[in-house]
């Protein structure tokens, strides 16, 4: 057991004094949950009853608890979290998971509530017994050392042209390298050249633009990783930006000087508000800030005349904010493990001060161990797909079921218990979202009340009175409406990407349940509001919770004796393609499956979250940080269905 703890214990001998301290002090333990507390709850694991509390950042965590799913990329992020936790620390893993590059866990538990309940006593015991160990060793996974060594090397050779981004930042590399090369050769990047080939099956929008915009700003550039997303060129939405002609900046019209080797002809001079130029300002920021970051932006150290430096000259090519001031943009990760956001959501924000100029969600890597199992016998496909998204397994189970039924040319009999399970999952999913949203907006009561109700409903799913009371209370919370109403409006041209509650809040009656005969019998009418903002989305989710409660009752009354249709999955000869649509809690999901001799050989899933990711990348900009995070949280993106 000790060998498992060498990466967590403090270095030194364990005296009885230290042991006493450990025994007393390490009663209150904080857990950092990977991939996230939303997944933990969706798995039916309640942390509150264990006496453990959730750590919001690795520095205050004692235990790193991994529940999975943990695809390769996330495992590296989890290793970074573990490396950043102060010792004595513990690694605990639930279920059978491959967690490399993390070390062997000190505690392995079954993926059950009983397993979770065993965590605290076991952790206390281990920490008391081995909080200090003479044989403690540094946890030094190779990839972290490589990244750090790479960074130091860059620091040593400033201006050598090596890349800014580490291997930890997928997505940003190709474009940046390309731009840098173009930049060096003095070429102008052809407009749209980089952006067009990656569109894939989705639409391309061209919106009317402000008349006075230089043509170069229309370039839309996206990293190749975003292949499945749509591209938009949006009209300026922010009214506070100054028009180009009235720039308050005196520096622009001065001739370029003291820029040996750097010729920024590719970039049109003139103020470039972030709302218009899509990715261009940020790319400029990256260009101007080469290598180690410690270096000054826009300055070539060797060629610079050191006698006098004019700030006007030095900053003239930096991106402008809405007020025309040239500042340096910083870039920070707000995921995959950020409190309040869905666990596993790989979000990066480009910041101008505390203004978000751009939000980028990078799709995670697919779980290779899952992908390897295709082709799959039809019988195993539905549970397999249900495991894709731990947040809403029932919805995807139903989806797979229906698609297979169509592929096998079976009558599309809907099973009432499945629909009831779907509606109950909807309530649970919305509540699960609300708990995390309570963290994002810093509302202690909302978080606790939602969590309380969540576990109440998990025990007894049918409690209309409790749900109704909760919804009424949330609606009456002071200041909540005011603080959410003005936030997160999706521009009209992008609205058709919205699905589920996001679309319904904006007045789009887009719901797959409308077409379902059983739902029609139950008198289902989608909830629609004309509040295209965070408050509207919250309202729709609350109303949907009430509606789902009602639907469960109505569906149950429809045909109480109808037996669950048995699913003939043993048909070895079945072949064909099937397509089905289900309204998951996050929106309409469509699945196409190809079936050959009883085996699922290929499938295509159109999940609502993938569209919402495209939304985030397009329209979250020029918002205050808190508002941007609220907006992103309000879309309720499930990171598990958006793998690249």
């Amino acid at each position: 057991m000790l060998s498992a703890f060498v990466f967590g214990a403090r270095a030194g001998r364990l005296s009885s004094w230290k042991q006493w301290l450990l025994k007393t002090g390490f009663q209150t333990l904080k857990v950092f949950i990977v991939p996230g507390e939303d997944v933990l709850r969706a798995l039916g694991l309640e942390l509150a009853s264990t006496g453990l509390t959730i750590a919001r950042n690795p520095r205050e965590a004692d235990i790193l608890l991994i529940t999975g799913p943990l695809p390769a990329g996330l495992a590296e992020n989890a290793a970074v979290i573990f490396a950043q936790m102060p010792r004595p620390r513990l690694l605990a893993v639930m279920g059978e998971l491959d967690i490399a590059p993390l070390p062997a866990p000190a505690i392995r538990l079954p993926l059950t509530q009983a397993g979770l309940l065993a965590l605290r006593p076991e952790a206390c015991r281990l920490l008391t017994a081995q909080g200090w160990a003479p044989e403690a060793q540094p946890f030094a996974p190779a990839f972290i050392e490589q990244v750090i060594a790479g960074q130091q090397e860059k620091g040593d050779h400033k201006g050598s042209g090596s890349m800014n981004h580490s291997a930890m930042e997928p997505g940003g590399m190709d474009m940046e390298g390309m731009m840098k090369d173009l930049d060096r050769s003095g070429m102008k990047p052809p407009p749209d050249a980089a952006a067009l080939p990656v569109h894939g099956p989705h639409e391309h929008h061209s919106m009317p633009k402000a008349a006075d915009k230089p043509s170069g700003e229309e370039t839309t550039n996206e990293p190749a990783a975003d292949g499945q997303h749509a591209h938009h060129t949006m009209p300026p939405t922010d009214t506070k930006e100054p028009p180009a002609a009235d720039s308050p900046d005196p520096g622009h019209h001065q001739p370029h000087a003291a820029q040996a080797g750097h010729e920024h002809s590719a970039i049109p001079a003139g103020p470039m508000p972030h709302t218009e130029g899509m990715d261009m300002p940020d790319m400029m920021g990256d260009q101007m800030k080469p290598e180690a970051g410690a270096e000054m932006p826009g300055m070539d150290m060797s060629g610079m005349d050191m006698g006098f430096m004019s700030m006007v000259e030095m900053t003239k090519d930096l991106p402008r904010s809405a007020d025309g001031l040239p500042m340096e943009a910083s870039e920070a990760a707000f995921g995959p493990f950020f409190p309040g956001l869905p666990g596993g959501l790989n979000l990066r924000l480009h910041l101008d001060g505390d203004n978000v100029t751009k939000a980028v969600i990078t799709p995670g890597q697919p779980d290779q161990s899952r992908a390897d199992r295709l082709p799959l016998p039809a019988r195993e496909f539905a549970p397999w797909l249900a495991g894709l998204d731990p947040l809403t397994p029932a919805a995807y189970h139903l989806l797979a079921h229906r698609a297979l039924a169509q592929a096998m040319r079976l009558p599309a009999t809907a099973a009432l218990p499945q629909l009831i399970a779907l509606e109950q999952e909807r309530i649970a999913s919305h509540l699960n979202w609300l708990i995390d949203f309570g963290v994002t907006i810093g509302h202690a009561w909302l978080r606790q009340a939602a969590e309380h109700l969540y576990w109440q409903l998990r025990q007894v799913p049918d409690q209309p009175a409790a749900v109704t009371a909760f919804v009424r209370q949330v609606r009456r919370l002071p200041l909540l409406r005011q603080s959410l109403t003005g936030v997160g409006q999706i521009p009209a041209p992008l609205l058709h990407h919205a699905r589920g509650p996001v679309a319904k809040a904006a007045g789009i009656s887009h719901d797959a349940r409308q077409l379902d005969p059983l739902y029609q019998q139950a008198g289902f009418v989608p909830i629609v509001r004309a509040e295209n903002n965070v408050w509207g989305r919250l309202q729709v989710r609350l109303q949907e919770m009430l509606q789902s409660q009602e639907l469960v009752h109505r569906l149950a009354r429809l045909d109480p004796v109808s037996p669950t249709p048995t699913f003939p999955t043993t048909d070895q000869a079945a072949a064909g393609t099937g397509r089905a649509t289900v309204e998951t809690p996050r929106g309409t999901a469509t699945l196409e499956v190809a079936l050959q001799s009883g085996q699922v050989t290929a499938y295509t899933l159109h999940a609502p979250s993938a569209l919402h990711v495209a939304l985030v990348n397009e329209f979250v900009r020029e918002q205050e940080l808190g508002d941007a995070l609220k907006t992103i949280a309000s879309l309720d993106i499930s990171p598990w269905t958006i793998t690249a």
Partner: protein, 300 residues
């Protein structure tokens, strides 16, 4: 100060109050009262490794937690607990309290900058914005109490409320001071520099072990001091029947502090720039109206 026994009682009450606040604080986020928790937390923080971020500004990093604690402690020192036990009778006490509070912001700024991390930096500069927002309502409300007492001596401000407490005499001032105190202690809904949901801990995220302990202790002390300030300046300080003066001060202070924690439970976090806007467009003019109101009352 004259009576060592009173001083001891006051110090004990203050310590006990701070401990009770720690319990209350956990209640405000977790909804349960855990009486042993703060003591365990102290040991816990002592036992943890201390990680200093690389490329940090060592001087500022080391100064910030100590300055934070010192600022809160010094502000507490000049506020009287009872008629015969002012820890310190500073003639410009009301001003001094403000001065000490200003260094809470300086400490947070230092901490935010020193770490050289994006979250902390955002938190630090946010808190300066917060100071710009709460500062004017705070000092102007305080000035109005000074007008009535004709002195900046906190004990005189208490005695000036013999006939009528300032909460009734100048309710606008009380409201502004109360909200400003919430913002000063960066309690929810104003917890901008250390917000979990926006900055994952912000300024404090990179402080571990004893340095974090100093910050946490300082913040509890700060809340206690602010509650004490509300008591002294607006709730008649030690005045009350039956019980000795310091007991009244203690009870009122604890009640105010509990209300600090309670308010934040039911409110969503605001935006600091909205706070700035409200402060300058509405709160500062309201504070001036309050001064005018007190001025007219005093002339009648």
């Amino acid at each position: 100060m004259e009576n060592p026994l009173t001083l001891l009682v006051v110090l004990l009450l203050f310590g006990g109050g701070v401990y009770a606040l720690a319990v209350l604080e956990y209640w405000s986020v977790a909804g349960q009262l855990a009486w042993g928790r703060p003591a365990r937390l102290v040991l816990h923080l002592l036992l943890q490794e201390e990680i200093r971020p690389r490329q940090s500004d060592t001087v500022l990093y080391e100064t910030a937690p100590v300055l934070f604690l010192a600022a809160a402690a010094l502000a507490a020192a000049v506020l009287p607990w009872s008629a015969d036990a002012p820890l310190l009778g500073l003639a410009t006490g009301a001003l001094f309290v403000n001065a000490a509070f200003a260094y809470v912001m300086v400490a947070m700024l230092m901490g935010g900058w020193a770490v050289n991390g994006v979250y902390a930096m955002l938190g630090g500069w946010r808190f300066l914005g917060q100071l710009i927002a709460y500062s004017m309502p705070l000092v102007m409300a305080l000035t109005a109490t000074v007008m009535r007492a004709e002195s900046m001596l906190p004990a005189r401000i208490v005695t000036s409320q013999l006939a009528l407490w300032n909460i009734v005499y100048q309710p606008i001032g009380f409201g502004l001071f109360y909200l400003a105190a919430l913002a000063l202690a960066f309690l929810p809904p104003f917890d901008f520099p250390v917000a979990a949901g926006e900055l994952a801990g912000g300024v404090w995220a990179e402080f571990t072990g004893t340095r974090l302990l100093l910050f946490r202790l300082g913040r509890l002390l700060l809340i206690m001091t602010l509650a004490l300030a509300v008591t002294v300046f607006f709730l008649g300080g030690w005045q009350g029947p039956w019980l000795p003066g310091f007991a009244w001060t203690f009870l009122k202070t604890l009640l105010v502090a509990a209300s600090f924690f309670g308010v934040g439970r039911y409110l969503p976090r605001l935006r600091y720039d909205q706070l700035l806007e409200w402060s300058w467009k509405y709160a500062t003019p309201a504070a001036l109206v309050n001064i005018l109101w007190v001025g007219i009352l005093l002339l009648l």
